[in-house]
Amino acid sequence: MKQEFPKGEINTISGPSLVIKGDDIDTDRIIPARFLKCVSFSALGEQVFADDRKELQGNHPFDLEQHKGSNILVVNDNFGCGSSREHAPQALMRWGIRLIIGESFAEIFFGNCLALGIPCMTASKQEITKLQNLVRENPNQIWDFNLKELSISNQKESFSLDLEGGAYKMLFSGKWDATSQLLDAEEKINNIVKNLPYLNNFKY
């Protein structure tokens, strides 16, 4: 089956969740460097968390049968730190992840996810722990994420989530794919090129 990747307005995402526990999970762990030897992102989905999965011999959340088809990932603090490799969110996206909820995210990782249309939502440590426990207790539970309401809920429980204003507007309007917006400013860019001292023999 060909995967549909995020496009346009990201308003609602529904599906089962899975949990990756631990603070400071770096992008080397999400996708080890040897898998960066590629000129296309297409094979990365199978390789996500490769070393952790090998170590757990089939018991890693990304291998468990009960999590097949999950599209929401719940993590802890400073998720995605380290290398700027977009291969990390690409690998998560190609495995099937469409939304990540955590205590906090590393900056470059957050931006890379945004550029793919994957919201990285935050909540307090307490709330995350509660959500993670609920997901673990009932992995088949369908969760409904609503960007406008900044919440994720099932029939019984609802959690408030946070997202900084800029990213919210980009996802809500569907304008998270920046290229066309950036190209709109051609004249202004040319102006900067004409005026930046270091591009003009330092005459200023």
Partner: protein
């Protein structure tokens, strides 16, 4: 909100416009690319039928995947060869200058660009690599980006970015003998944590910073990202200008004088406002070594590996993970920890002065039996200058291997890897689980001189003891 800092001034020069989402469209003055994070960006450009907007503002080299033993083409690893030839093809198609193998100017992107004079004060520098913060050492705003942003910069010479807050880290005093820039930055990351810098640009300032060479300053800014700060910088001064003078891409003649005037005008005002300020004493810092699995898990050479139970609550779990993964016992001294592999190189510490300082420790001594020790110069220029000074001979005589330039075992995308549970003393920047090419390999980060000392003694050693002998 900050005002009057170098960050504010450089930001203003490069602001294209405010974007509807609240971020800023920022012009990129120097775009550096390499073989790992650019191929998908060029493919995306082709799919969208877009051109490279300013090919003369993008510069390419190859570093991550190059083998360091034999750089004959084609590389023996077909995937590595494919990545290099894809980059060559993309550069040729789009008219981008490529510093390849055999060009005499190839090297780790954050080593070769500064030494060519490409990186200058007041620029915005972007590259698909988190250690782009290195270039901030010149008083540039430099930051790592993902592949989608590489595509955006190729297409528009700009990207969407939120302005960061600015934290000034003021370092008093001066570093003691045997204590290097690497020790200082490991110490800072230990103090502020691996996510302490998220949302901030770090301005490193104060007497201890001013006394550092450009190469030391690059080591500091290089690892800003390990403290969570996407961007770190140091105000340009005479040390900066002295370094840049006469470099291939540096301004010359009248332009040079004009450039210095402009560069000086960018320095943070004495009454600049910062979002946060921190002060520490550089004189009291000791050689620092990481014992765990994040660059924030560092201790001085005189300290013992911490007992997780005695750490602040939010550090306990990762400290427990680290003890288990590293197979190191709490309350044991870090000094004397046996090691298997010694790696001197990387964008953090693969420059001439790094090799020079390490060679002083190695000179007249031998690598301890059973230790694999190797030096990977950061660039072809570094390798050439080191050879002219006879530094390669010092290492070779002592039993080190002397390799060809590249990123090598910093991230092990080439054949240089740890094996099994091996533990390395490494002058690189990350001690993450599996970082150096073995899923359960272990890394102790330290200065190049400390790596040299570890190689001689076969165990973690206070380099000051070898400096005295």
């Amino acid at each position: 909100m900050s005002s009057g800092t170098l960050y504010d001034k450089v930001w203003n020069f490069h602001q294209v416009k405010e974007l509807p989402g609240g971020s800023t469209q920022l012009f990129v003055g120097l775009h550096l690319i390499h073989e790992v994070t650019s191929p998908q960006a060029f493919s995306a450009l082709n799919e969208k039928n877009l051109e490279v907007k300013f090919p003369n503002l993008t510069v390419a080299t190859v570093d991550h995947i190059v083998p360091t033993l034999n750089q004959q083409r084609p590389f023996s690893d077909p995937l590595a060869e494919e990545m290099l030839s894809t980059l060559e093809k993309n550069c040729k198609t789009h008219g981008i200058k490529f510093h390849g193998i055999g060009s005499n100017s190839q090297g780790v992107v954050h080593v070769m660009a500064p030494e060519l004079g490409l990186t200058q004060p007041g620029m915005t520098v972007a590259c698909g690599d988190s250690h782009t913060s290195t270039h901030g050492a010149f008083g540039a705003i430099a930051f790592g980006i993902g592949t989608s942003q590489v595509r955006d910069v190729l297409a528009s010479q700009s990207l969407a970015m939120k302005k960061l807050k600015v934290r000034r880290i003021w370092v008093d005093g001066s570093l003691q003998k045997g204590v290097y820039a690497k020790d200082l930055i490991l110490h800072i990351i230990r103090l502020l944590g691996v996510k302490g810098g998220v949302g901030f640009a770090y301005e490193f300032a104060g007497p201890a910073i001013e006394k550092l060479s450009m190469e030391g300053r690059m080591t500091i800014c290089n690892m800003a990202i390990e403290g969570g700060a996407r961007c770190g910088y140091i105000n340009p001064d005479e040390t900066t200008f002295e370094y840049l003078k006469g470099k291939e891409y540096s301004p010359k003649g009248q332009e040079w004088d004009n450039a210095i005037n402009w560069w000086k005008s960018l320095v943070s005002n004495s009454k600049a406002k910062y979002d946060d300020e921190i002060q520490l004493d550089g004189s009291s810092i000791e050689p620092t070594v990481t014992w765990g699995i994040t660059p924030g898990q560092g201790i001085s050479i005189k300290e013992k590996i911490p007992n997780p139970e005695e750490l602040p609550k939010n550090e306990q779990q990762i400290a427990k993970d680290a003890c288990k993964y590293m197979n190191l016992k709490a309350d044991q001294p870090i000094e004397g920890t046996s090691i298997d592999v010694c790696f001197i190189g990387s964008c953090t510490n693969g420059r001439l002065s790094d090799l020079q300082e390490a060679s002083k420790i190695v000179k007249g001594r031998k690598v301890s039996a059973g230790i694999k020790a190797f030096v990977v110069p950061g660039s072809q220029k570094v390798a050439k200058e080191a050879k002219q000074k006879g530094i390669d001979k010092i290492f070779l005589t002592a039993g080190f291997e002397w390799r060809e330039p590249g990123c090598s075992m910093c991230l092990a995308m080439n054949p240089d890897k740890l094996e099994g549970r091996q533990i390395s003393a490494s002058s690189s920047n990350r001690n993450f689980k599996g970082r150096q090419g073995s899923a359960n390999g272990r890394t102790l980060l330290m200065s190049p001189a400390m790596v040299a000392a570890a190689a001689i003694n076969g165990k973690v050693t206070d380099v000051r003891k070898l400096l005295q002998e």
